[in-house]
């Protein structure tokens, strides 16, 4: 959907396994089914929010397009979301802190120049350098020397400008030769290679640095598709890149993203066959499962690696007792809401990590996420009860009103707590209020993962002083488990440490998980079944015509 976070695919494999695969791309199970390749397809698109620079595009409208244009060190398979070596020949480490990347030879940018080590190092330094104002700069936080490229505005929103950062390049990145470079991180990050498939880690051709503005209008990557044109609010055209060296062979010759202002119009065009693929059918078509009647076998539901949760503010003393939080969580009937409000468009959550992620284990939340009105009442009494009104904050620009009201009503009915929805005009206004720690009560937040790892659902949200830890959760035991897991090179034991950490969340309940996202994708009768990756982005490059 418009404005959702750019996300990558889900992992079926962990970091270490990826390292072992460093010796090659691995064997492929591409069964040679005769499919008609070539031809032109048109798909639903939306207007990119920013110029098309990989490190400045962290929303889906531009991201889906850039993903076809760029190639990264690592790519994620559509079918099982397994990370595979793409431009990288190998990524090796002995201590989970110093990595050596070797590149395959022969990868070419669309302008004909070869992809070399410096194209990665320069691109990443550009992305992380504060004055360049790149939206995805935070992806480079783990790299050694990242802090030296940052700068703080002395008067926040005031007229003064932030001073020049200390350095222009990260000390953790070194070019060894044309096809080798090294990465050092400031702490141990065993899953670093898995992260490198995100759009922000794309290499940039030398021409970018001469004129970033021109690049934003005509991006150049090393991916399967070449950028042809962008007519604002009308369409974005891509064509197959003849010299593409990767294995994700592009099937359609031309892909046109047709931009729609209204997804209802796009949906009608999909039914009429004017466009071939629609990433998410409109909400109105979900009612009574109308979309299944309209599209029949030309549609699929896919669970998406994202989660919605409700946080409890630390500053509210009435929520300090874990029993109170448990009672509130037990009072919520998640299935009823996903069925009735989302027309089965979501999946009720039983933990903090969605299924399909490497490291997923069901039921981490335990009975706190199981609806039980009677138990909610007694638990609340054990916790000392709740006086006054409980404010439930949400942003009014994202379609959250209905479910927040329904949840509040359930809490009211099942526990007697006077829950009141508290709308904020938009997402960033709500975040500012949360950041200032002035707000008392509960708040809704969502999380979509950046890279395929259980760690991404835990560390950025619940680590002490982590970026998105709006509930101010701080547990030394939790932090220690995260640290140990990050340093653990063995995927199985690393995951079990992360799972232990997730269980701790079940005991402490800093947030209550609500549901996992799902996506309903449709396609026209001109094309064969469209594969959708674990994040719900259709695999446009592999669409075949009938």
């Amino acid at each position: 959907m418009r404005g959702t976070t750019r996300t990558v695919a889900v992992a079926g494999i962990s970091a270490a396994a990826l390292l072992l695969a460093g010796c090659g791309g691995g064997s492929e199970d591409n069964a040679d089914t005769p499919t008609k390749t070539g031809g032109d397809i048109s798909v639903e698109g939306c207007s990119p929010q920013n110029p098309l620079i990989p490190s400045n595009t962290s929303e889906t409208c531009g991201g889906n397009v850039l993903d076809l244009i760029t190639a990264k060190l690592v790519s994620y398979a559509t079918k099982d979301a397994k990370p595979e070596m793409d431009i990288a020949e190998s990524i090796t480490t002995s201590d989970n802190q110093n990595f050596e990347v070797k590149l395959k030879k022969g990868y070419k940018f669309h302008d004909g120049t070869e992809v070399k080590s410096k194209n990665f190092v320069d691109a990443w330094n550009y992305a992380a350098y504060f004055p360049n104002g790149q939206g995805a700069s935070y992806f480079f936080t783990p790299f050694a020397g990242y802090a030296d490229l940052q700068s703080v505005d002395p008067d926040e929103d005031g007229p003064q400008k932030a001073p020049e950062p200390k350095a222009k390049t990260m000390s953790g990145l070194k070019v060894v030769d044309d096809y080798t470079f090294t990465i050092a991180t400031s702490e141990k990050v065993s899953n670093l290679p898995v992260r490198l498939g995100y759009t922000a880690f794309s290499p940039l051709p030398d021409s970018f640095f001469a004129d970033p503005e021109a690049y934003g209008k005509k991006p150049i990557g090393a991916g399967p598709y070449e950028f042809v044109s962008l007519t604002p609010d009308v369409d974005i055209k891509l064509k197959k890149f003849a010299d593409y060296a990767g294995k994700d062979a592009a099937k359609p010759d031309n892909i046109t993203f047709k931009i729609y202002a209204d997804d209802e119009t796009a949906y009608k065009d999909l039914i009429a066959g004017t466009i071939d693929v629609m990433e998410q059918v409109p909400t109105s078509a979900l009612i009574g499962e109308q979309w299944k009647t309209d599209l029949q076998d030309r549609a699929a539901t896919k669970a998406v690696a994202g989660i919605t949760h409700v946080g409890f503010t630390k500053s509210d003393p009435r929520l300090a007792n874990v029993k109170v939080r448990q009672a509130i969580s037990m009072a919520v009937n998640r299935e009823e809401i996903t069925d009735k409000i989302f027309n089965k468009g979501r999946v009720a959550a039983t933990g903090w990590v969605p299924p399909g992620i490497d490291g997923y284990a069901a039921g981490a939340c335990g009975e706190a996420c199981t609806f039980d009105a009677a138990k909610a009442k007694t638990t609340l009494a054990e916790g000392g009860g709740f006086t006054g009104t409980l404010e439930f904050a949400y942003n009014n620009d994202g379609g959250h009103k209905e479910w927040v009201e329904a949840t509040c009503n359930q809490i009211k009915t099942n526990t007697g707590i006077n829950c009141v929805p508290r709308p904020f005009v938009d997402f960033s206004t709500m975040l500012k209020e949360l950041e200032s720690r002035k707000f008392n009560g509960m708040f809704r937040l969502g999380w979509q993962m950046d890279y395929p790892s259980i760690e991404n659902f835990l560390a950025p949200l619940y680590g002490t002083d982590a970026d998105s830890n709006y509930q101010d959760y701080s547990s030394p035991a939790f932090d220690k488990l995260l640290g140990d897991a990050a340093a653990d090179g063995d995927p199985a034991s690393s995951n079990s440490k992360y799972q232990e950490a997730e269980k701790l969340l079940g005991t402490d309940l800093p947030t209550m998980p609500m549901w996992y996202t799902a996506r309903q994708t449709g396609w026209s009768d001109k094309v064969n079944t469209v594969e959708v990756d674990a994040f719900g982005v259709p695999d446009y490059g592999n669409v075949t015509l009938k």
């Binding site: 404005g3 360049n132 939206g135 007519t231 065009d269 009429a272 960033s428 975040l431 969502g446 998105s468």
Partner: protein, 309 residues
């Protein structure tokens, strides 16, 4: 006449200043943050926010922002949108589409509206009059997005007579037929009713009786003598409506995915792209004022008794 035109043109300056200032204040004083949704469902990085605020002078107090903006505007610089495209380029690219749609809608509403109005006016109280009154009442009372979506669903999707959306900027005239009818629908009804009322009034006037007494044919009495006088309020309405049509029709352009000025505004408002909104509205106001000046000048042609000296 010349003096009158100059005076009217000079009057546009305070009107333009007033409207741009009001729009500017309203757009930029809106609650919410323009960097919202720019980075997906996650706060933008501090680096991005700092660069963004710097670029659009968001750290300055509002009056200073406005003066900076107006200073650029006077030099013909409408600023750049949040996507780094000069607003004026965006508007120039979109006006031909809106113009095409507006003129088609105008032709439809003038032809059908006046025809229906004359028919029901000369046959007041008869069956045809009832049909016109009931059907116009119906059209006026149904919101335009209902008319738009329903006709799109029935005529576009189910019957396949018209395209559902307008695909490209160089779309054929046929692609615009359905949206133009939808856009014209409400105005057709108003024009029909205005024409009818004025015609009925004027048909009772003394000069019409004189004309009839002179032995003029009915067609000449109604067509030349009465209709010309009855057209003054109708022309006023059409002028006002053309101004509105050229300013872009947000609802219709959204439903049919037309990339005109209305669709542009529709996308710019939720994105809080203030520079784009103010630029578009400024031009729309300017066009509106010019069209209305033209209408006022037309009065003299229609009725020699009205003079601008």
């Amino acid at each position: 006449m010349g003096k009158y035109i100059v005076r009217r043109l000079l009057l546009m300056i305070p009107v333009l200043l007033g409207t741009t200032f009001l729009i500017y204040v309203m757009v930029f004083a809106l609650p919410g943050d323009p960097t919202d949704n720019k980075c997906g469902e996650r706060p933008c990085s501090p680096a991005y926010i700092a660069a963004f605020r710097d670029k659009y002078n968001l750290d300055d107090p509002l009056p200073i922002q406005y003066f900076k903006y107006m200073g650029n505007l006077l030099q013909g610089d409408f600023g750049t949108t949040q996507r780094d495209v000069p607003v004026i380029d965006d508007i120039i690219a979109r006006y031909p589409t809106t113009l095409k749609l507006a003129l088609m809608a105008l032709v439809i509403q003038v032809v059908i509206g006046i025809l229906a109005g004359v028919l029901s006016g000369v046959r007041k109280g008869k069956f045809i009059d009832q049909v016109v009154l009931v059907s116009t009442l119906f059209v006026i009372s149904v919101p335009i997005f209902v008319i738009g979506s329903t006709s799109q669903l029935v005529l576009g999707l189910q019957l396949g007579l018209f395209p559902i959306s307008v695909p490209t900027r160089d779309a054929s005239l046929f692609d615009f037929v359905l949206p133009a009818f939808v856009l014209a629908s409400a105005s057709v009804a108003y024009i029909a009713r205005l024409t009818r009322t004025n015609l009925v009034d004027n048909l009772r006037a003394d000069y019409v009786r004189t004309a009839k007494a002179k032995g003029l044919t009915r067609g000449r009495t109604v067509g030349i003598h009465t209709l010309r006088n009855s057209m003054i309020p109708v022309i006023t309405f059409i002028g006002y409506d053309l101004g509105a049509l050229l300013g872009g029709s947000i609802v219709t352009e959204r439903i049919f995915n037309i990339n005109g000025v209305g669709g542009y505004l529709f996308r710019a408002i939720p994105a809080q792209d203030g520079v784009a909104i103010v630029g578009t509205v400024t031009i729309a106001v300017l066009i509106y004022l010019l069209v209305n000046l033209l209408v006022d000048l037309l009065y003299g042609v229609l009725d020699p008794r009205i003079s601008h000296e």
